[in-house]
Amino acid sequence: MADTPADKTPADKTPAERVPTVVADGVDIVYRVNGTGAGRGSATAALNRILRGKKAEKAAGVRRVHAVKNVSFVAYRGEAIGLIGTNGSGKSTLLKAVAGLLPVERGRIYTDGQPSLLGVNAALMNDLTGERNVYLGGLAMGMSRAQVKERYQEIVDFSGINDKGDFITLPMRTYSSGMAARLRFSIAAAKDHDVLLVDEALATGDRSFQKRSEERIRELRQHAGTVFLVSHSNKSIRDTCDRVLWLERGELRMDGPTEEVLKEYEKFTGGPDKAAKPKPAPKAKAAA
């Protein structure tokens, strides 16, 4: 499978063989946050906003957060791409936009098929039994009833919920947080995806479960066309990815082979001589 360590200029190397699965073309993403109005009474501001629409946005205290700025990249089939960057640099936001769950302000994201985020937490209900949640989660991800039935035993076994007794028939609210996290991961990982987006999912459960889930991610990666992995663990990025995108303050700062980018990134974050005392930012770039 992925025997293509990403090189820096993929597009012009062997254009006939490399099939793009995700193309981001100058993507900008902006969040609008209501109710941050400072100064004037926010009730009138809110009314103003409703009546006058966009024009009044600024006056009414809607803050715009420019989370991703002009990011372009092409991801190819068979690649596993790591997304790194300090907290709040726009990694998860970019991932959501690739999944089609967030709108882009400018630019376009083109995808082959429907990329999916790995995660079903939102569809599960704590008051229901683990068993019913397996079905609910599977259906929410777009599996058919028959598919869920077929995978059911596999999911339960993988989660290890029943290792210590018949817990799958208890409501999920009775699970320990670790057990619940394991079941959630097992459900989410039960489906094969064309383009798989993983947002720091590796850090759940105990050590043995982590090992198993890393293995499962690798398996998913073999079936999936392309994998995106957001993680703060440089080790798991090294283990899984052959190409890394480094986002900083919403801007794509580096894009290249894992080792090269991670070396720079480590210098940037952990390098004892470099990051000890941050230099004052130039004013032009200060606020987003």
Partner: protein, 310 residues
Amino acid sequence: MSQVLDPPPPTTQAPPGPEPDHDLAALAARHGLSVSGARPSLPQYVRQLWARRHFIGAFSTAKLTAQYSQAKLGQVWQVMTPLLNAAVYYFIFGMLMNTSRGVEDFVPFLVTGVFVWTFTQSSIMAGTRAISGNLGLVRALHFPRAALPVSFCLQQLQQLLFSMAALVLILLAFGVPPAPSWVLAVPALVLQFLFNAGVAMVMARVGSKIPDMAQLMPFLLRTWMYASGVMFSIHHMTGPDSGLPSWVGTALQLNPAVVYIDLMRFALIDSFGGSQLPPHVWALAVGWALVAGVGGFIYFWKAEETYGRG
């Protein structure tokens, strides 16, 4: 945003492709990639929704079950709640205020009205929160968003079926005989469900843009309820001897809630004869169901790609 360690330097990024932007679009087009997060066409959307029917069903049942899962009596509350509701209304309107004058079989009349109205009311309320209250789901998973309001209406329909079971008990207890006309309850419910789902989808879109609607809706709905003859007979109130101009009665009887409530009464209660029904009642019922159902669906679909944003 100012505690980033370093200023973003002049980007040392090796560009992913040497092509300028418009070539990326061309590259995408060459390989048949589609724009992520774009709104599907209407027929596509219907197909996607149909493909998710199992999810819609499972989600509504799960919500319904989760509702009482912590109570000791558990699912018994599904029937207990409507019965208690009916008892309270009977106590206030039947015994204290004695509104029953002029209405035969007042208790079945009242309880039918309350249950059928509650179905519409809670569907619309749930619809208003369908998107704004489930942002987590909308932002994490990909599915046609109309699945949410439809699923909530389906939950209310299931709830109503429990209420109907309670209603049958009440009818029998008050000596209303079972009749073949009870079968008419089925088409009436189907049409009402379509109407509710349509309005719920409209409100889901409105509520997703203006979350404040969830605060406002209870008042609008209560006003609507008082105009819908849930606890009194519109037929009697606006009859020729009431002194009201006749257009008031006509206007009130066009009210979709009145149409569906009266149809159900007509189907279930022997003494509620056809003469008390609004004119062309089935045509009205079908018309409202189609207008709201189809219109609401299209209105909701028009904003499909914007849900869960902001």
